[in-house]
């Protein structure tokens, strides 16, 4: 009965309005790569001091859940996850949008997000204390195996190209080791660059790896970015609804995976999405469509990542241990209000906690209308925006997004370098996703591995620690199935897909040889590290040397199947746009954030103009450019309160 009275409390007009505003703001922030829920929630915490705890928490929760959902927009429309949670959404969302079905993809993401959010929210409402025990049952070895399970997705992502996928994963894992190590405290792979001490920021790396190649390819020719098809008579919503109904089991399973992964502190939405995606692909009857625009892939990722929101609050509220960074800030807000978290919270402070949980569930439901309306316009406007404005807009977002994470121009530079590297890698047949997977899972895998080893060897039962625990065994079985399944499926089909090398033989051979060299250099570097710090990167570097050597031999003896006419170098426009972004990242701090953005924006606009423009058009475009930059500048400086370098002007 009490539960109902709390529901009524959550339904006051003020709380409803706050939930709505929160969801809209969250969705928009989430859709911008680099702008995160953490940022928005951190800025808004002081308002909760004056607003009353329950209402304040509802805004924060609504922004958080909206942001996780909003990440899908950028993933679908420009192939760049708006938040790391949406990494796996790019796998199928972008291909679907490329087929002209962007509206369908967004509807699918919306429905799946609402579904997943509800499962997570209901678990929080009814099952929080028992589910918190799940977090406690997961020890270091389970974290390690969970990361390995995530990595098995590589074998599925790179069918017919497994070696390249594995090498990509090694690159990602080695990138994740850069900086000061948590275990061992060594400084690794920084090559004496102080700016690399903090490591490679995941979000800026994702923006670079996914988005920069899109920008460079956009200016290659004048073909439009996305086709816009208005299908008459059939709404994308009812089609999406039908597709989801057929896959309700996938939705439920992915939501449960999301809830459970959300409960684990330090795992979060990106891993939930990847694990749910792997599982959906394995159990699907049409697994070969995954990666080519499979609705199931979008459903799995988006339901799982929104389920982590409710799941993440379970350890936050029950154990006082935040599941994710936004949870951590919300936990701080609770403590400042004098609310003590812990098992007694649900009884002692029921009115605040339950009002908040209902608020979160209401916010999740509000994502449906908000998402469908925003989604419709987002897709339309992205596909209708002329290229000369779209390209600078996307480039602008990559730069401000990677800068905004830590207000640090260095992150922007790393973003650019990785992005250009990803573009070249794609030309040589290496895709970005295995690198991202390695980067996301590397730290968790390494820490889990070393911690398990430390605990095991302290007590003389290392093997038992790795292989003898019930949950670990369960995950190991899943890993084996996930690894063998694509191989067996390929056997069954009997005909092996021969994938043509996209580049010429000498260029790919030289590159693979260079990888061997890099592996040797990094392997030698691990000799100066402590044992704890060296064990993981030395194994990975060793694996990279071995895999690259095998690939080299395989390619060297391979006859034919190379694209000898492939051009490895960018054309003039592509080089131009890269150069502008490079100069932008270098001189941003000196010229001033706003001025640099305006200059770069307009330069990129000219680079991506293909037809000889009318003078009037140029003037209008320049005005629009300046307005866009100033609008963002204002929002970032005055609303999100980011520190922007002012340089000489502004």
């Amino acid at each position: 009965m009490e539960l109902v009275s709390y529901l009524i409390e959550a339904l006051t007009p003020l709380n409803l309005l706050l939930a709505l505003v929160g969801v809209i703001a969250g969705t928009i922030i989430g859709a911008m790569p680099g702008l995160s829920a953490t940022m928005a929630v951190a800025v808004l915490v002081p308002f909760t001091y004056v607003m009353g705890p329950a209402s304040g928490l509802i805004v924060l929760g609504a922004i958080y859940t909206g942001a996780i959902y909003g990440g899908a927009f950028a993933a679908i429309l420009v192939n760049t996850p708006g938040t790391p949670s949406a990494i796996a959404t790019t796998f199928d969302g972008y291909p679907l949008a490329k087929q002209g079905k962007g509206a369908l993809a967004i509807s699918l993401a919306t429905l799946a997000s609402v579904g997943g959010g509800l499962v997570g929210g209901l678990a929080l409402l009814f099952l929080a204390p028992p589910l918190a025990e799940v977090a406690l049952a997961f020890g270091p070895s389970e974290y390690f195996w969970m990361a390995v399970f995530g990595l098995t997705l590589i074998s599925a992502l790179s069918v017919g190209n497994t070696l390249k996928g594995l090498i990509g994963a090694c690159i990602g894992l080695l990138l994740s080791a850069v900086g000061v190590a948590v275990v061992g405290g060594d400084v690794r792979f920084t090559f004496d660059q102080v700016s690399l001490l903090g490591g490679i920021d995941l979000t800026s790396a994702i923006i670079g790896l996914y988005c920069i190649p899109v920008i460079i390819d956009l200016v290659a020719n004048k073909a439009p970015h996305l086709k816009f098809e208005s299908i008459k008579g059939k709404s994308s919503l009812s089609e999406a609804f039908g597709l989801i109904l057929k896959r309700k089991f996938n939705l439920l399973r992915s939501s449960i995976i999301g809830t459970v992964v959300g409960i684990l502190p330090g795992a979060g939405g990106s891993i939930a999405g990847l694990v749910a995606y792997t599982e959906a692909r394995r159990s699907s009857k049409e697994s070969e469509t995954f990666g080519k625009g499979a609705p199931e892939g979008i459903v799995a990722t988006e339901s799982a990542n929104n389920a982590t929101v409710g799941g993440g609050f379970i350890p936050t509220l029950v154990l006082g241990i935040p599941g994710t960074p936004p949870d951590a800030i919300i936990l701080g807000a609770l403590l400042v209000q004098g609310i003590k978290t812990g098992p007694s919270l649900f009884t002692d402070q029921g009115s605040i906690v339950y009002t908040f949980i209902y608020g979160l569930i209401i916010a999740t439901l509000l994502m449906l209308p908000v998402g469908l309306i925003l989604g419709k316009y987002a897709y339309k406007s992205i596909s209708k925006t002329p290229k000369e404005l779209l390209v600078p807009c996307v480039a602008f977002l990559t730069v401000i997004g990677s800068y905004a994470i830590h207000s640090n121009p260095h992150d922007t530079f790393v973003m650019f370098v990785l992005g250009v590297a990803a573009w070249f890698l794609a030309k040589l047949g290496f895709s970005a996703s295995p690198i991202v997977l390695g980067l996301v899972l590397g730290k968790i895998a390494e820490q889990g591995f070393v911690q398990t080893y430390l605990i095991g060897s302290a007590q003389g039962r290392t093997l038992e620690m790795f292989f003898g625990r019930p949950i670990s065994i369960g995950i190991i079985v899943c890993c084996v199935i996930a690894l063998l399944f694509p191989i067996l499926a390929a056997r069954k089909q009997k005909k092996r897909e021969v994938i043509e090398e996209p580049s010429s033989k000498p260029s790919v051979l030289v590159f693979v040889l260079a990888l061997v060299g890099v592996g040797i250099v990094l392997f030698n570097d691990t000799k100066n590290m402590s044992i704890l710090g060296a064990v993981f990167p030395s194994y990975i570097a060793g694996a990279m040397i071995f895999l690259s050597a095998v690939l080299f031999i395989k390619l060297a003896i391979k006859k034919g199947g190379f694209n000898q006419n492939a051009k490895l170098l960018p054309n003039k426009r592509q080089a131009g746009v890269s150069l502008v972004i490079l100069l932008w990242t270098i001189f941003m701090a000196k010229i001033g954030f706003g001025l640099a953005a305006i200059i770069a924006f307009i330069s990129i606009m000219f680079i991506s103009t293909f037809e000889k423009p009318k003078p009037m058009r140029v003037v209008i475009n320049i005005i629009i450019s300046i307005l866009i930059v100033l609008l963002f500048y204002f929002c970032m400086k005055e609303i999100l309160l980011l520190r922007l370098p002012s340089g000489i002007l502004f």
């Binding site: 270091p140 405290g185 960074p325 949870d327 701080g332 403590l335 004098g338 098992p343 640090n408």
Partner: protein, 322 residues
């Protein structure tokens, strides 16, 4: 040519700008004139964040302006501290600063800054270390744990936050003082470390006493490294009471860019000092296991020198320097 034109345009502008900057900084009476950026060099959710949030809730009462908390995590704080001196120095940008971090990091490796380049204004609290065990553990008091560790060298596993951290230093000092050998297992933060401890993945935890405040009855605190017992945990003995001379933990304060004017520094130090006397603030801090300290700007140099000497020895103990 083009460059020259730009220069001739900007040089007067620059002069005007820098003049206006110096003009405002000369008048510290106006300070603060806008919200103060309070940068936390770690992720949200840690002790630095929480204590800053407590300050933030009463900040306006003493400063006349709000504090805006931002996060700049990386390399255990080094990313933010190495950039601090390049930030705006009118006093409206302040940054959290920690000991041992800001002293140990430059001793051990090139961290992009040296301890002497930083300008701490006020160390307002410290979090003592504490030994935790799960509620169902066989160890009812510290004596039992030490006995077990003596009989089974290496078998006692301590979860803590990171390598070479205050927790790690505490564990190494504990080993040295009691003559036992234990295994330190570093986690990526207090949160994951406490989770693994609550789930009995490790035998014990070496973590800040503050972690005990939210864990409720899931954990048992065996001893705490403060001078006196903490008011939040009146039943937990100090190490000193048990005959182990282990006192200390992590100190937290605020710092400013080094070109911040002297009078503004003093004013900020006073603001933080006044917040430290606010009854509401004091209660929240102590309820959560923080120990307030009042190391103000005028006493800072002596405090830092003393700590530098101490941690030089600690670095040798951990085998980080020869």
């Amino acid at each position: 040519m083009k460059n020259k034109n730009l220069k001739s345009l900007f040089v007067p502008l620059l002069t005007a700008l820098s003049l206006s900057v110096t003009a405002t900084s000369a008048v510290a009476n106006d300070f603060p004139s806008k919200p103060i950026n309070y940068i936390i060099p770690f992720n949200a959710g840690g002790e630095s964040d929480l204590s800053a949030r407590f300050q933030q809730s009463v900040f306006e009462k003493y400063a006349g302006e709000k504090a805006v908390i931002q996060y700049m995590p990386g390399a255990g704080g080094a990313v933010a501290w190495s950039q601090l001196n390049g930030m705006e120095s009118d006093g409206h940008t302040i940054m959290g600063i920690n000991i041992p971090h800001s002293i140990m990091q430059p001793i051990v490796k090139d961290s992009g800054y040296t301890t002497d380049e930083l300008t701490p204004l006020y160390y307002f609290h410290y979090t003592p270390n504490a030994i935790f065990v799960p509620a169902n553990s066989q160890f009812k008091d510290l004596g039992q744990l030490i006995d077990y560790a003596k009989k089974n060298p290496g078998m006692v596993t301590f979860a803590g936050s990171g390598s070479n951290s205050a927790n790690h230093i505490g564990q190494a000092t504990f080993d040295k003082l009691t003559g036992v050998t234990s295994t330190y297992v570093p986690f990526s933060g207090i949160g994951p470390a406490m989770t693994s401890l609550m789930g009995s993945q490790v035998m014990a935890g070496f973590a800040y006493a503050t972690s005990g405040a939210s864990a409720g009855d899931k954990l048992r605190m065996l001893a705490v490294s403060s001078e006196k017992r903490l008011s939040a945990f009146p039943d937990v003995p100090t190490f000193k009471e048990l005959g182990i001379d282990l006192v200390g933990g992590a100190y937290r304060g605020i710092a400013v860019p080094k070109s911040t004017p002297e009078d503004v520094r003093q004013k900020l130090s006073d603001i933080i000092g006044n917040i430290n006397k606010d009854p509401e603030f004091v209660k929240k801090m102590e309820d959560n296991g923080f120990v307030l300290t009042d190391i103000a700007y005028e006493n800072m140099d002596a405090f830092i020198e003393a700590n530098k000497a101490e941690y030089q020895g600690v670095a040798q103990l951990l085998g980080l320097i020869k």
